[in-house]
């Protein structure tokens, strides 16, 4: 079962939440943000080249122009490969663990997996982010040796930064699975 809804992120940009219910104990949430727009690319390129042309007329050195071209190309490639995250996915499997995937615009994907033994809870927490207070979803980790202490806090959806309505949906689904998992683990 799959459905898609559109939400907003904290800056007002459009987001798409794609939910997949593979079964009653395995769910996946994919948040895709807007792709890199042609407008912003052309704006940045034109600014960089205008500045380079201004420096060229000042210094009469043609290396400035060629270095501006290189900087633009390398900067765009680096941005697409290291910075611009197109989609973030959260896959939660009861009794196995939680997996977070970030796919960059150049196709690179980075994955993090957390075992279910280490997961204490998934909560929606508030944070002060520059001049705003935002909500973010985070996973509380516990040390299996000391199950009543929180050892680490792992925030998810860090680049797409959805708003509270989207986070509540993901939170409710995760809590259903975690409640089932706690019930099955409490009654051996």
């Amino acid at each position: 079962m799959e459905d898609e809804r559109s939400f907003l992120d904290i800056c007002g940009g459009p987001l798409t939440l794609r939910r997949r219910y593979y079964s009653s104990y395995c769910r996946e949430f994919g948040l895709s943000s807007a792709r890199l727009s042609l407008r912003s690319v052309t704006a940045v390129t034109c600014t960089v080249w205008l500045v380079a042309y201004g420096l060229f007329t000042l210094f009469e050195n043609s290396m400035i122009l060629s270095s501006a071209i290189f900087i633009t190309i390398l900067g765009l490639l680096g941005y697409l490969h290291f910075v611009k995250i197109d989609q973030e996915t959260l896959l939660i499997i009861d009794s196995l663990g939680i997996q977070m995937t970030s796919s960059y615009a150049s196709g690179k994907e980075s994955t993090t997996f957390i075992e279910m033994d280490k997961v204490k809870d998934v909560i929606v927490n508030e944070a002060i982010y520059m001049q705003k207070v935002i909500y973010y979803l985070c996973i509380l980790l516990k040390d299996p040796v000391k199950p009543h202490e929180i050892s680490q806090v792992v925030p998810v959806f860090q680049s797409t930064k959805p708003r509270l309505d989207c986070l509540i949906e993901v939170y409710r689904s995760c809590q259903e699975i975690l409640a089932r998992q706690k019930a099955t683990s409490a009654s051996p």
């Binding site: 809870d121 909560i123 929606v124 927490n125 509380l140 509540i168 939170y171 409710r172 809590q175």
Partner: protein, 115 residues
């Protein structure tokens, strides 16, 4: 301080050393001011000091204040142990329960409270 552990960190060493230096400097300045005669200090050009009376008065004031503090605190402590139905100490509600209350159970309650 977030942790109350006794680990020797470099920052703590620096704090300790700064405290040591400043306390030594303050103490020696106090001794100089208390013992060196006014005429010598004036000849050096340092004229704007408080009266030497305070070199004796301030320590006496502090000692009496500490003793009075001890007596009043101990008297208050005796009285405080007798209150059993007082307001309990502050506690933090765990974030999981706060989340469950807000987002899982009563969605209508939350929106009503907002309006």
């Amino acid at each position: 301080m977030v942790e109350n552990s006794l680990t020797p960190l470099p920052e703590r060493a620096i704090y300790g050393f700064v405290l040591f230096l400043s306390s030594q400097f303050g103490f020696r300045l106090f001794l100089v001011w208390a013992f060196v005669p006014e005429s010598w200090l004036n000849s050096l050009g340092l004229t704007f000091w408080p009266q030497k009376y305070w070199a004796v008065a301030l320590p006496v004031y502090l000692l009496i204040a500490v003793l009075m503090g001890y007596t009043t605190m101990l008297k208050n402590q005796e009285q405080k142990n007798h209150q059993e139905d007082a307001i309990p100490a502050l506690r933090d509600i765990p974030i999981s329960e706060v989340n469950k209350m807000f987002f899982l159970e009563a969605k209508e309650l939350y929106t009503q409270n907002c309006v």
